[in-house]
């Protein structure tokens, strides 16, 4: 085995603990800091689940989907209906019963979001491949249509999405109260990241995606129909957004039809920080945004949205293409 070290760009990863450390003195107490940090990581994981799809779609297909938010909202609302049907399971105190209700809800949400994603790609995105301006306009239009259709089906007002009984409340770690649900969110996030990393790193399809992000033409010249891959990635990306929507909804315990548009902005900030096309970058961006939002939410509530923007500006001044820019031909 050669002893040559493969140099690896570790600086962006270091940003996450760095931010956490900076926030420690500002949080007042260690237990507060711990609660906030776990909350931030959990939020970050959920955002990552949603953003990962979008960054791959952009990286691979050069498609800017300003309407990604519609899948988030759709997933959340579908889950609310499914969970509504299973109220006796969610009302139970037993964890396994709760999980047996939540996981199918997530699955259905992902299926529906994926199916709508299929239609979205076919009818809204495909006709404008390669034309960025039109893509921005049309996908934005698609989101508006989606949001209105959600209002038609589920009504224009708030829809509650209460957490199942056993997932409520917190675990006590010394002085720190760590919400049970947030732990679940981190677990799910890690699982999703693991699956994505495995698929991208160890399977041939993952190889195709990574190569396609860099040089679509060459992949075609090697004999692969990348068009079909596009659709697949779009559908998976939409399904992931649906999953993220469910988790976000359970986070807020309350759904509004505009939630897609609201989360959209956060997602964009995340993938810009991460670098369009980079999954690892999306994870770092998401964790940073999650932590930032929670820290400022405690320290200086009015500045929360601006804090994330300031973070993005700071990152772009350091690396204008994001932390892990994808090398494009």
């Amino acid at each position: 085995m050669n002893g040559k070290k493969l140099d690896f760009d570790w600086k962006p990863i270091a940003l996450v603990p760095l931010l956490a450390l900076v926030a420690l003195p500002l949080s007042g107490s260690f237990s507060t800091w711990l609660t906030l940090t776990v909350a931030g990581l959990a939020m970050g994981m959920i955002i990552f689940i949603i953003a990962s799809g979008l960054t791959l779609i952009f990286g691979l297909m050069d498609v800017l989907n300003f309407g990604h938010g519609v899948f988030i909202a759709l997933g959340a609302f579908v889950a609310s209906s499914v969970l509504g049907l299973m109220s006796d399971w969610t009302g139970s105190q037993e964890l396994w019963r709760n999980l047996l209700a939540v996981f199918p809800a997530m699955l259905v949400a992902m299926l529906v979001a994926g199916a709508v994603g299929l239609a979205f790609e076919r009818f809204i995105v495909r006709p404008v491949y390669g034309q960025h301006l039109k893509q921005i306009l049309i996908t934005m239009g698609g989101m508006i249509i989606g949001e209105e259709l959600i209002k038609v089906i589920w009504g224009p007002g708030q829809v509650p999405l209460p957490l199942p009984e056993a997932l409520r409340g917190s675990l006590l770690l010394g002085d720190a109260a760590i919400s049970k649900y947030r732990i679940l969110a981190v677990v799910v996030g890690v699982v999703v990241f693991g699956l994505l990393a495995w698929t991208l790193g160890r399977t041939k399809i993952g190889l195709l995606i990574r190569a396609g992000v860099q040089d679509r033409e060459m992949v075609e010249s090697l004999g692969y129909r990348i068009g079909r891959l596009f659709v697949g990635v779009f559908v998976v990306g939409s399904a992931l957004a649906g999953l993220g929507g469910v988790m976000w909804g359970l986070f807020q315990q309350n759904l509004v039809p505009q939630m897609g548009a609201q989360v959209n902005v956060l997602i964009f900030i995340v993938i810009i920080i991460g670098g369009l096309g980079s999954t690892a970058g999306a994870l770092i961006g998401a964790l940073l945004v999650g932590l930032m939002t929670n820290y400022t939410g405690f320290i200086l509530p009015t500045a929360t949205q601006f804090a994330s923007i300031a973070l993005m500006v700071a990152v772009l001044l350091w690396r204008p293409q994001g932390v892990y820019p994808v090398a494009r031909r």
Binding site: K204, L207, R210, Y224
Partner: protein, 241 residues
Amino acid sequence: MSDALLSLEGVHTHIGAYHILHGVDLAVPRGQLTMLLGRNGAGKTTTLRTIMGLWHASKGSVRFGAHDLTAMHTPRIAELGIAYVPENMGIFSDLTVKENMLLAARAAKSAEAMDEARLEWIFRLFPAVQKFWNHPAGKLSGGQKQMLAVSRAIVEPRELLIVDEPSKGLAPAIINNMIEAFGELKRSGVTILLVEQNIFFAQRLGDSVAVMDNGRVVHSGSMADFSADEALQQSLLGLAL
């Protein structure tokens, strides 16, 4: 005179508003190495890209064996057995050398499934490929990348190899390596269409030659005849081989 594996007839190609190819007629004989020569801007790269379907001919036809490639999509053209090494090499720099090769080996589902014997042969031709097997391809030097690009094209047997300036920017020692490799490939029966500006390549490897100028093939014939005719070389290329 062997039959033509690949033939272009009256091919015109437009890129946007620019009319680049003005009726290209080209025949690539089976089992031979055909050199495509010409000054910069003559349309050589455009011709190769048109064959691969990356740009579509607006007029004329491209035939490969019994297939009509003119309006076909690139992946299908590649599937028919044509391997393309573009001018910029098309290396995926974020992927390792192994992953680059695996991608090119369409039939292999994983790295272990790649043809061992074939890989041994490639490693013998281009030792650098084996040396940097697990390294990101972006870390390779220009010459090594070029070798990787050619290795990719031959990791599985193909009927036709289309190569665009493989020796560009390479050191002379590496160019010799390249020439030997192509020589072996030729002997193994692969048909090759090579665009090159390097003199030695042309002389040592070429069986047939086609010279392009202003989007047309202005001369074609055997390399032997072309090499003997200095006046023709001067007028077409501005230099003697």
